[in-house]
Symmetry: C2
Subunit: 216 residues, 2 copies
C-alpha cells in the first residue's frame, strides 16, 4: 500500500535480473550496477528497492540472494495465484502454452471456450471446458484472476459473469474498454494497440522518406 505503480511495474525487471545474477553465481550487486544493466536511474533503483525493505551496504551493495527473497516476499511471488482463462482462440492458446507465468507466480488452471472441438481437450496440461461449466468451477475453486482473450464483442459480458461468480482481478487482452464495479482489479494488455502504433509510425516514416526523395 502506498507503493507507486511504476515501482510495482519495475519489480519483475529487478526479479529477472537478480535471478540471472544468481545463476551466474554473483553474490553482491550495487544499485549503480543494477541501474546500468536495466537502463534506470541509480537513485530510482535505491528508492524502488527500499519499498521492498531492502537496503544496500556501502561499497558492497546488496546481497543478491537476500534481495531476491525480499522482492519475492514484497511482491507476493512466494505464493502462487490461480487463474481462469476465457477464450481459447489463438491468443488464449498462446497464453496457455506460455510457461513464463508460472515463474511469475500465476498458473492458468482451466480455460473456457464455446468451440465444441476444443471443449474436453487439454493444452499444456490445462483442461478446456464449455462456458456452462464456469459457474460450477468458480463456485468450487475460488480462483482470484480471470484472463479474458475473447473477441471484443463478448468481453464485457464475460467480465460481468466473472465478477458475478467472484473473480477479484481481471486481466483483459480483448481490445475493448471494460466497465467493472469498484473494487475489482483491472489490467489491460492491448497487444494490437501496440502493434497499431508501430505500423502507423512506420507508415509516417515512409511518407517522410518519400517526401524527401521527391524534393530532391
Amino acid at each position: 500500500m502506498g507503493v507507486p505503480e511504476p515501482t510495482i511495474r519495475r519489480m519483475p525487471t529487478y526479479l529477472n535480473l537478480l535471478k540471472e545474477l544468481l545463476e551466474m553465481e554473483e553474490s553482491n550487486v550495487s544499485a549503480p550496477q543494477i541501474a546500468r544493466r536495466l537502463n534506470l536511474d541509480p537513485t530510482q533503483v535505491v528508492k524502488d528497492l527500499s519499498y521492498a525493505g531492502a537496503s544496500g551496504r556501502p561499497r558492497i551493495g546488496y546481497a543478491v540472494g537476500d534481495l531476491l527473497t525480499s522482492l519475492k516476499n514484497f511482491m507476493g511471488y512466494n505464493r502462487q495465484r490461480e487463474a481462469f482463462l476465457v477464450g481459447a482462440g489463438s491468443l488464449g492458446q498462446a497464453l496457455i502454452q506460455y510457461d513464463g507465468f508460472v515463474e511469475h507466480s500465476m498458473r492458468i488452471v482451466a480455460a473456457f471456450d464455446i468451440n465444441k472441438e476444443k471443449i474436453g481437450t487439454e493444452m499444456n496440461g490445462v483442461p478446456i471446458f464449455s462456458m456452462d461449466k464456469y459457474r460450477d468451477l468458480a463456485d468450487r475453486l475460488h480462483i482470484p484472476i480471470g484472463i479474458i482473450t475473447t473477441p471484443a464483442s463478448v468481453a464485457q459480458e464475460i467480465a460481468d459473469m466473472m465478477v458475478c461468480w467472484g473473480i477479484k482481478a481481471i486481466w483483459n487482452f480483448a481490445p475493448v474498454a471494460l466497465r467493472l464495479p469498484e473494487g475489482v482489479i483491472l489490467q489491460d494488455t492491448h497487444i494490437y494497440a501496440n502493434l497499431a502504433v508501430i505500423l502507423n509510425k512506420l507508415m509516417d516514416v515512409e511518407k517522410q522518406t518519400t517526401e524527401i526523395v521527391n524534393q530532391q
Copy 2:
C-alpha cells in the same frame, strides 16, 4: 501524422468490431452503436473515425464495409509488414505460434536464438536461425520490425545490433528500458509488469480483508 496516439491505439478495436459486424452481415452501424459496443464515448468515436476520413450519414450511420476499408487504408493494414523475432524462448514461441498478428498485417518471417536444439528447426512455419545468421538475413531482407523476447540482460545488445543492421521499429517484450537512437520506433509490451500490478493489488485486497476480519 498529427493523429493522437490514443486514436491510433483504438483503431484495432474498431477494426475488430467492424469485421464481426461484417460477418454478421450488418450493413450499417452508427457512432452511438459503436460507442455502446466498445464502451467508448460517441463523440470520441466520431472524432476517431474522422481521422480515417470516414463520416457517417444522419440516421443511417456508417456503411460497415466502406468504413472497414477506410480504416484499413488509414492504418496501412492493406500492406503486410515483416518482422524478425530474437529470443525463441517461451514468450517468443508463444508469439511465433500466435496467428493473430497476420490478421493485423504483421508476419514473423524468421526467429533467432542461441539454443542449439532450436536452431535449424521450424515453428508454425517460422524458421529458427542462429544469431550469426542475423546480419546476412537482415542485409538481404530489409525487415522493418524487430521483436525482442530475450532475457532482459541481453535485450539492449540485441536492440543495438538490430538498429545497426537497419531495423526501423523495435517491439520490446523484455522487461528492460531500451535506449535507442532518435528515429527508431520503440513500443514496449511488458506483460510481467501488468501481472505484477495484478498480484500486488490482490495482496493489498487480502490485507484489507484480513484487517476487517481482525477488527470484528
